[in-house]
């Protein structure tokens, strides 16, 4: 039951571009990325599109389909009417390189600014003991495939690129939360304070928990409820809780 699908794809580069209309053969059970591949093979051999695994595991084929940030390999055509025009555009929060490919280096810059896991002193490889219930929270965050859709949809940088300097985005605030909740991370013993760093270095306060990151996450990670809000609460422990602040002042 094949049909001709209507596709509108953003074509262009950093300087200029436009939405162009195409018609492509579509088959039952296909996803948007299949259409892009067919477009490449039959009509536009130079159509730039990132992809790797085509199974929702690598997070390469992120784009916006009908305005919504999505993995094109996990966007089934059955979501759309057969006569509906499917519009595919590059992620809006990042500068375009060409067509659907954009410059996501912002994310790699931010990744480097989160202090890495700090192994505990005195434990040799093979001596780590952790209970399943203690690693489960961080494991959820490690499901992240770094598709950067949460970064793309986050209005803090999507609509205000001037915030990119101060704000690391949900992905990397979640990375901070992951390490903060890691049962054996020794960053704090070595003088660090991850919640404080989340506020100062990564702009946690800019997040207004409007949850779009959680909505678009293809891995269904509870970014807001399980990472960002607990991080805000841990920060409140340190900074906005007059009782603990008073207690600290007395002690020092």
């Amino acid at each position: 039951m094949g049909y001709r699908a209507r596709l509108r794809v953003w074509r262009g580069d950093a300087d200029s571009g436009e939405l162009r209309d195409y018609e492509v053969d579509a088959e039952e059970g296909e996803v948007v990325l299949d259409l892009l591949h067919r477009l490449q093979a039959t009509q536009c051999p130079d159509l730039a599109v990132r992809w790797n695994c085509k199974a929702g595991k690598c997070g390469s084929c992120s784009a916006e389909v009908n305005g919504r940030p999505r993995l094109t390999c996990m966007t089934r055509l059955s979501l759309f009417d057969t006569d509906e025009t499917i519009t595919v555009t590059p992620m809006r929060a990042f500068p375009v390189i060409k067509d659907l490919v954009c410059d996501v280096s912002y994310n790699y810059v931010k990744a480097r600014e989160v202090p890495a896991f700090s192994p505990p002193e005195g434990l040799e490889p093979g001596e780590y003991r952790m209970q399943q219930r203690d690693v489960e929270r961080s494991q959820e965050f490690r499901k992240c495939i770094e598709c950067f859709l949460c970064q793309d949809t986050c209005h803090v940088i999507r609509d205000h690129s001037e915030n990119k300097e101060a704000f690391s985005g949900p992905r990397f605030l979640m990375r901070v939360a992951e390490l903060e909740m890691h049962p054996l991370d020794s960053h704090q013993e070595k003088g660090g304070d991850r919640p404080e760093e989340a506020r100062g270095d990564h702009g946690l306060g800019l997040c207004n928990i409007t949850k779009c990151c959680t909505e678009v996450c293809p891995e269904h990670i509870g970014i807001t409820d399980n990472a960002l809000i607990p991080l805000k609460e841990r920060l409140a422990d340190r900074r906005y809780d007059p009782l603990t602040m008073l207690f600290r002042r007395k002690r020092s």
Binding site: W10, G12, A14, D15, G17, E64, N66, G67, R68, P69, T87, T89, P90, R92, F94, P95, V96, D103, S105, V109, K110, Q131, R133, D134, T153, H155, V156, R158, D159, H160, S161, E162, N163, K164, E165, M181, H182, P183, G203, G205, L206, C207, N208, I209, T210, C212, E215, V216, D225, I229, P230, K232, E233, R234, L235, A236, D237, R239, Y240, D241
Partner: protein, 264 residues
């Protein structure tokens, strides 16, 4: 190395979303707006909140702690004087109850989206030129949510007391009316909403890194986490139930209809 910014060449209007993305924020705005309007009218109505026969106290007026309260409604005394007719009793309690909801992580999302349009919906451009989030006054005050949580626990306890004493008949002794049942539903929803709050989840166990060393708190955290998953639903359900019970008590107190009694 500074992060690159979006190229100016790609301007594509406000959004390319084709669904009715404006519907949820509109619904939220209408729902919250209706509640606020009802709350204002009700507060300054300043009457019909106590049904002495069945011991029904309207939740908007609980606890009633000013000398302005009608006789019998002040279960916990009246430490505040009757300042002026335009300062009705709820003025002393409502700031805490509203503060809890106003700083609640769910309601924040709801009104940031629907009233502030920051953002109106996911992947829809917000209209503001500048955005500082919750980094400055007044929004930085959202971080005191946990204190409102403590207050909300007290209020929930008070409403529980109100509900318990509503199990009395007109002549004293045990009794149940429709109002009693509504108050039970309301108080259960209120507790569920209060305990499923993110601050509660943090305080009860979320702040711990080694759950395995705190089995009891871990169990409580697991329970609260499960409830927390329904925080939005509970926020709305308890909001509606508070207003409905309040309305019900008002109508009974005003004599619009008698309370149907199931027992005594």
């Amino acid at each position: 190395m500074s992060a690159p910014t979006t190229s100016s060449s790609l301007r594509r209007g406000r959004t390319l979303r084709t669904d009715r993305w404006w519907l949820p924020p509109l619904g939220t705005a209408l729902g919250l707006g209706a509640f606020v309007v009802y709350g204002l009218i009700r507060t300054f109505m300043n009457q019909w909140y106590w049904v002495p026969e069945y011991h029904y106290l309207a939740p908007f007026f609980s606890p009633c702690i000013s000398d302005a309260c009608v006789p019998g409604a002040s279960h916990f005394g009246s430490p505040f004087p009757d300042l002026a007719p335009w300062i009705p009793p709820p003025v002393f309690v409502l700031p805490f109850v509203l503060g809890f909801r106003l700083t609640c992580y769910y309601y924040r999302k709801a009104y940031y989206r629907s009233f502030w349009a920051a953002p109106p919906a996911c992947a829809v451009t917000e209209p503001h030129r500048r955005y500082t989030g919750e980094t400055r006054f007044p929004l930085i005050m959202q971080n005191v949510h946990r204190y409102f949580f403590y207050a909300a626990l007290l209020v929930a306890a008070v409403l529980t007391y109100d509900t318990v004493i509503a199990f009395r008949g007109p002549g004293g002794g045990f009794g149940i009316g429709l109002g009693t049942l509504l108050m039970v539903v309301n108080v259960v929803l209120l507790w569920a909403y209060t305990l499923s709050c993110h601050s509660c989840r943090h305080l009860i166990g979320g702040r711990i890194n080694h759950f395995s060393r705190h089995p009891v708190r871990y169990r409580m955290w697991t329970l609260v986490s499960r409830m927390n998953g329904h925080h939005m639903g509970l926020a709305w359900a308890s909001l509606v139930s508070v207003a409905l019970v309040d309305l019900y008590v008002m109508l009974v107190a005003a004599g619009a209809f008698p309370d149907p009694r199931l027992f005594n």
